[in-house]
Amino acid sequence: MRRKDRGEAATAWMMSLPAILGLGLFVVLPLVMGFYWSLTDKRLISSNPTQFVGLRNYRHLIGLRVITLQAERTETGVQRRDADGSAIFPPLRPILRSDDSFLGYRELTTVTVFDRRYVVVSRDPTFYRALWNTTKFVLVIVPFQGGLALLLALLVNQRLRFINFFRAAYFSPVVTSMAVIAIVWTFLYNPEFGLINAILNAITFGLTGQIDWLIDPQTALLAIIILSAWQAAGFQMVIFLAGLQQIPDVLYEASRIDGANLLQQFRYVTWPQLRNTTIFVVVATTILAFRLFTQVDVMTKGGPLESTVTVVYHAVDQGFRQQRIGYASAITMVFFVIVISIALTQRAFLRSEREVD
């Protein structure tokens, strides 16, 4: 290397050193420590010393077993039926408690096929439910929040007076503390007195009735999705706005000359030109959505009936409330692998469609 190049390389290293140190200290080091702790039974506050347990935490976390139950029959072989006419199966709990190999297992889900019932048991059914809830959340919020953000961006991309006021207003939820927003929305979601039910009933003349937003397991996750989309849409709106402003006016003029109306302009000019921006928004929203925690912690504590528990919430609950830091580290390691895989897959899949004109 020429002396000048070496000097430049050295300067480059020096300039990036603070960032590298920060990254190493706050991202890489906790990751390594977390991985190490996931192989132990470390407890936050304990009088027993921490012991190395190898992959036990992972086995507890992921291990699934299936128990087959036969429908009960009388001595003559006739299938017994209960009052509803469905087959009667032996209760699960005595089976689990009678066999030492099933120690710690709880029911995760049950599939009944004719006269056989297959019960999937796990030592941490909450983790699987958390995975499922998180997946549902991500699948719904990416299009919902992205769509909302695009709509807002289109609205604030106009050259009207005071448009900056609207831009600031739509962005303000992003900079508000999520804990504060969650508490306010808990009041908004109150079934009797909340504003949401009041507005819905006013619009639909009482058709929607009293929705038990955070009480009903069917609506709790939806309630959190709506509030999360409202909070974060402003951020994606700004990104879309930047993308919109890069579209040359010439294209719109040309399309207008060709006789395109507003909808056609959007479909043939705006949307294709926004492809790169959209890809970025989708990938970023997906990764951020996996981190769902604060809203659940403040509003529902994972309930009702584990319908809103997420992976991060479960990890925090196990690590700091049940004090099982080792086990919680295992949860986060597994989650890390899952999210990285999804992010890389997304990039690979979307990259092949990406053509920069």
């Binding site: 506050i45 027993n48 007195f193 009480i215 504590k301 309930g303 009936l305 609950d317 004090q323």
Partner: protein, 426 residues
Amino acid sequence: MRYARRYWMTFMLLALVSVGLAQPKDVNLWFHGGVGDAATAVQEYIDDFNQLQSGYRVIYTEIPGGAVAGSGYNDAVNAAAVAGDLPCLLDLDGPFLYNYAWAGFLQPLDDFLTPELRADFLPSLIDQGIYNGELYALGQYDSGLALASRRSLLERAGVRIPEGVGDEWSLAEFDDALAKIQALDEVAYAIDLKMNYGAGEWFTYGFSPVLQSWGADLIDRDGYQEAEGLLNGEAAVAAMTWIQSLFESGYTTLTPPDDNEFVNGRAGMGWFGHWMAPSYLDAFGDDLVVIPMPRFGDTPVTGMGSWAWSITSNCPQKEGAWSFLEFIFEPENILRMVDAEGTVPGRTSALAMSDVYGEGGALQVLVDQLQQGVAVPRPKTPAYPTITAAFYTAMDNILKGGDVQTELDIAVDKIEADIRVNDGYR
């Protein structure tokens, strides 16, 4: 001249050192914030103590939050414990202190307590602080749990008002009272169960006594290893089904807008924790009547236990920390906290000096419940954080549609699994 300078230097050095030695030694204190004017009361204690003597200077840090993990204060204490950075003085919520005692973070107080002082404290408070035979924490006050209503309202509803402990309602009488109050036009519903607190320690503190009175319990108190048959047996299922029925029949609501349903008159009765005493007394004065916990089975049971002060084992100024505690344990000072937070004074001498808690006082029922054995402590085990989380999650799920037996079974499984993973917390 050189000698003079040397003497001058020595003199300066000595002066500085003696000034340094004469500086009051710092004693760090963490307080959980409390309800109402509790924080102000503690700050006033500290100001008074610092002025009264010059050997020690107590430094106040308030970390709002409760004892349940995940709420600010408990997280801060855990983090400090792991980092070896605990303050000298710490207040801990009753049943959560056994975890810290078990792990060796707390200094036993037996040597600091004189026999006279020890005898003056309510037995329930001494009992609360003892783990493995040693006293690790002592509170200024104990808690009180009962029912509250308005005398005039009960008379309008035609409901018998119990005289005191020993005259409590039976389950049948309680159901009857609820029905009669519900029928009154002036209330929106019969009783406020403070569901606005959400799934947390309130569920365990306020409602596990119902289970215990019914004949069930959270865990076997003889060894603290098993919960099967106790938390998910017939009595427990009956108790939780009854609580569930209160919501189904409209006697109470799952989503009160705030903490003041009883004060606002929307609810005819309140499930009464002592911290509501200042606002209830303010609102209703002499019309307020405190009703002892009803008898759901053979005997009535109520809750007890509250925040207690402890000295951490790594504290460099243990004498100073204890002299501060001695100061706040003086009866007059205990009563200052009672006024601020409505708690039950922890010393018999303080009780005698109190208007509301003494003989004939409005809140005498709370004291009688503590002194006559109606109060049962929450399980004294390092497993308590798991026990309470399992119970309040089960209760939350049950109230939101879950099956009672299934949820209680899950709670038992979680508790026993945790105890197993921690080798029985021996």
